[in-house]
Amino acid sequence: MTTTFNVNKIRNDFPILKQQVNGCPLVYLDNGATSQKPQSVIDAIVNYYSTTNSNVHRGVHTMSQQATDGYEGARAKVRQFINASDDREIIFTRNTTEGINLVAHSYGRQNIGPGDDIIVSNMEHHSNIVPWQMLCEEKGANLRVVPIDDAGELLVDEYEKMLSSRTKLVSITHVSNALGTILPAAQIARMAHAHGAPILFDGAQAVPHMPVDVQELDCDFYVFSGHKLFGPTGIGILYGKAEYLEAMPPFLGGGEMIKSVTFEKTIYNDLPYKFEGGTPDIAGAIGLGAAIDYVNDLGFDQITAHEDELLRYGTDALSTIEGLKIIGTAEHKAGILSFVMDLAHPHDIGTILDEQGIAVRTGHHCAQPVMQRFQIPATARASLAFYNTKEDIDALVKGIDRVIEVFS
């Protein structure tokens, strides 16, 4: 690790962090919901609309070519970022949810039939449950759920037992949004492949915190959102191995995704355009490219080291608070401190923290089965990014002291 990681300098790149909220300096600990954007991302979007705005892959005019170069340049950045082997394997979507739904509608409807199994885990976001439930209902297939233990670790032995010749797809989170658990993704993929099943990882909570190499993981699909990776909302990524994407039917029909259209027959476009029907979020893609540049400049060696230290510091600090229980204590975690308190409901914790300018998420985090597993209605969740500091954690602890004061 180099010693150039200067968090105060980094914070200066994020204009929103200079704000006051409710008369207090903003302490932003809701990065799991969405991350803040550096000035370079904001500038990229403003520049695009100020100087380049045109449709992509259409016109012969100069700006259209520039827009296409920007958009395709962003695709190449994403490809490098997750070490895919080919730009054609990078599909722009709106978000993680759309990526999963694309695979469910396209791959799933073609390849999953009555009596087949789809495997998910007990710690999925609703977006990695509901599309599969809908598909299972339509096809008469079964949704199987790998259980987790009290720490929030996946029970790999149970997963092994669940795999069979009936398993047609495994779709599992890389990092749990409610618990922070980092799952053993390469092992999960190997085990799925040993039974001939493709594997999809929901990487929404992974890509902001750790390097992801889709070839090393040997996953067949990998999905994530731009807005949790310091990019804009409205842009997401589906990575798929070309051999799968080639064989899959299109998801949305329309412009862009065709080679030729007659009323008798339409010929679909090549990858990746086959899956990008309609005018895409060009500015969003360019913004995501700028976000990836920013993250690459910092480097994951430094990001991970800083965040691991913060997570340790935060875990130690919260652990000393009487009547507070951390939910999710896996050995390998990324960026998430979920907790409940004997004295106060998470909503009340959230309101009292907000009064002090501290933003956390409260509720079930779109992961109700996780809450059911731990027999709690909700948690308060502090989620970290590389621009957070020990002072942010100290403010959280002080904020929690105030919760105790009001409710005891």
């Binding site: 909503h347 009340d348 509720g363 209605p377 909700a378 009001v406």
Partner: protein, 143 residues
């Protein structure tokens, strides 16, 4: 901050009223908040003239939903269903505009402060929504 968590709110939160279940309720309703899984369950018993003679409520969740449920139930005893609808309307207005000069609402007046915390208004309204749904279903059933 004591604004939201004032003495009256905290009292109803810590000591909710009307919690004993009614075995032969005429009106039963349950409402969830899909964002947080909070829940309010209400039961009402009506006398021969159609006025409320028994109230029971259970709430699970944050202090606001629990206090609101307790406070709302306190206002229902002896009321007709039309009067209940009026209380509901007044309560809704108080959450939007404040409860100045509003004497019918009893302790519910303390919740007018929630209007300064817009994301919490749905917590305060959940028991009322349950009540209204329950009454609507009862009226449909009994014509």
């Amino acid at each position: 901050m004591d604004g939201l968590y004032g003495d009256l709110v905290m009292d109803h939160y810590r000591n909710p009223r009307n919690r004993s279940p009614i075995s032969d309720a005429d009106i039963e309703a349950e409402e969830f908040n899909p964002f947080c899984g909070d829940r309010a369950t209400l039961q009402l018993k009506l006398d021969g003239r159609g006025n409320i003679c028994g109230v029971s409520a259970q709430a699970e969740g944050c202090s606001i939903i629990q206090a609101a449920t307790s406070m709302l139930c306190d206002q229902l005893q002896g009321k007709s269903l039309d009067e209940v609808a009026e209380i509901g309307e007044r309560y809704r207005l108080a959450l939007r505009n404040g409860a100045e000069g509003e004497s019918e609402l009893g302790d519910l007046r303390a919740l007018q402060v929630v209007r300064q915390y817009p994301v919490r208004i749905k917590c305060a309204l959940l028991p009322l929504t349950a009540l209204e749904e329950g009454i609507k279903a009862y009226r449909e059933k009994t014509g």
